[in-house]
């Protein structure tokens, strides 16, 4: 197939998709959320706290269904519960928030509460699937504005603590000796993760936040060793996987979140396989100046 015909087909596909407002909305919302998820997730992977991030999303499920019970928008229940959960984990010192068993127990309890709230609010049950697995095609303009605001707050807070956060993540013992407030940093960081999780759950659902928050950053860390290149690649991969996922879903009629999950897993495993190929040149790379 010639280059021209490929380009023409691509152009037709794009024009076709963007003829629908729900598709432009989906692209805008997914774009904002993917970039934020990739950047925040990069630090989540760096700190080895991905499971804590996963738990926060489940706590958010209880919050979202609870909010439905008292007539609030699910997003605010998500934000409230994940924030409270993140701050609590941070305050309970690093050692506890990194403990898989304790986190697993809280995670299961949160899902249980989510179920209880659904049980008492049966009209809300139809929305349960959207909460669990996301529903990016139902995003409206108001939600895009909210996600943009959430994303801005998240990235601004992350920028404010980034320098000591990296130091404390890489060398906690030395950072403590140099006067970095470890617990405060950990708490603020988990609050940032909570906001990112809340935004991410709007796109791919609470069960699949890993697809944007862990898959792309983990792949990026396999492919590059620099901080800024890693952050850019994590955000870029998340963006590409989200947009491509929506595109595939549009033409295949598969669920969007499935397509994103598939691309995320593919991206990660492809990156895992990549270093073996480039191991030799990596050793003789010139120094960064």
């Amino acid at each position: 197939m010639g280059r021209t015909s490929t380009t023409t087909i691509t152009a037709i596909i794009i024009i076709d998709m963007f003829a629908y407002e729900f598709m432009t909305n989906a692209f805008a919302a997914a774009g904002i959320v993917a970039a934020v998820s990739g950047v925040v997730g990069y630090f989540l992977v760096m700190r080895g706290q991905t499971f804590a991030g996963h738990a926060l999303s489940h706590i958010g499920f209880a919050g979202a269904t609870g909010a439905g019970l008292i007539g609030l928008a699910p997003l605010w229940g998500l934000v409230g519960f994940t924030l409270a959960g993140g701050v609590a984990m941070g305050l309970l010192s690093e050692r506890i928030s990194n403990r898989d068993v304790a986190i697993g127990v809280v995670l299961a309890l949160a899902l249980g509460f989510g179920l209880l709230f659904l049980h008492y609010h049966t009209a809300f049950a139809t929305q349960a699937t959207a909460l669990l697995f996301g529903n990016v095609l139902a995003v409206d303009r108001g939600m895009i504005a909210t996600l943009a605001a959430l994303g801005f707050i998240t990235l601004a807070a992350l920028a404010a603590i980034m320098r000591p956060l990296i130091f404390a993540s890489l060398q906690p013992e030395l950072a403590e000796a140099k006067g970095v407030p470890l617990r405060f940093l950990s708490t603020v960081f988990l609050a940032i993760v909570a906001l990112a999780v809340s935004a991410c759950a709007q796109i791919v659902g609470v069960l699949l936040v890993f697809t944007l928050m862990v898959g792309p950053p983990a792949a990026a860390q396999r492919l590059t060793t620099g901080l800024w290149s890693g952050l850019a690649l994590a955000a870029g991969l998340a963006l590409a996987e989200a947009w491509l996922g929506i595109t595939i879903a549009f033409y295949s009629d598969w669920p969007v979140s499935f397509c994103i999950a598939l691309l995320s897993a593919f991206g990660y495993f492809a990156a895992l396989a990549a270093p073996r190929v480039r191991a030799a040149p990596a050793a003789s790379r010139s120094p960064p100046q």
Binding site: M162, F167, A168, L170, Q171, L174, A177, K178, A282, A283
Partner: protein
Amino acid sequence: MSVIEFERATLRMAGRVVLAAASFAIEPGEFIGVLGPNGAGKTTLMRAILGLCPPSAGAVRVFGASPRRGDPAIGYLPQVRTVLPDLRVRGRDFIASSLDGERWGLPSHGAGDARAIDATLDLVGARDLARRALSDLSGGERQRLLLAQALIGQPKLLLLDEPLISLDARHQEVAIDVVRRVCRERGVTVLFSAHELNQLIGTLDRVLYLGNGQAVLGNVDEVITAPVLSRLYGADIDVVRAGGHIFVLSRGREVEHGAHQHDHDHGHHHH
């Protein structure tokens, strides 16, 4: 003025008394070998000097004042060195993270920082290592990067907690030599904890031997004796000198033999 002064200082770690009413003073430019059995409090002692573990009784003074966290005059190589297994951060970026790492905002490093990092990497011969990802380095290679990092910023006091662990014999010599040069040429005071006394004998000025809640500071000949060590170990200890080496024996076995292999037995996680 002494660089470090302990005045009847009692240190506790998780409620347990590690050092009971210990008094000693370390003078500027001294190279002090910190020795003692696992769990004797070598790490706790350094944390007290860093202001991370205030004495429950008595006083600790560093540069004539109470220790304060984040003193830029102190270079520190921690014993517990968390390295996340999947972390593909370049050695150089790892070191850079510690430069003004306590400041808020975005990380940014200027030409001055780059020069400081190059200079310290050259000192320990680790410039090539720093180009590789941390996860691709061996324990000993990481160790050399950390030693380089501890030397950045011209500290006046170096606290090196088991810097020889996981280094092979040649790099142990290199590490000791680098620290000795820094100590002599810049007049830096060094606390160097280790399991093996013999490698340090030609280098150290005095020994700070910890054990049984006590601390004894003095020359090798004063401290490494059967009566003193028997008191510190709470067991019958023999000291045998042969061919310029000193062997510390308990019931015919060397007490610290093979102790490096169990370096995780003490430090942060006391069981």
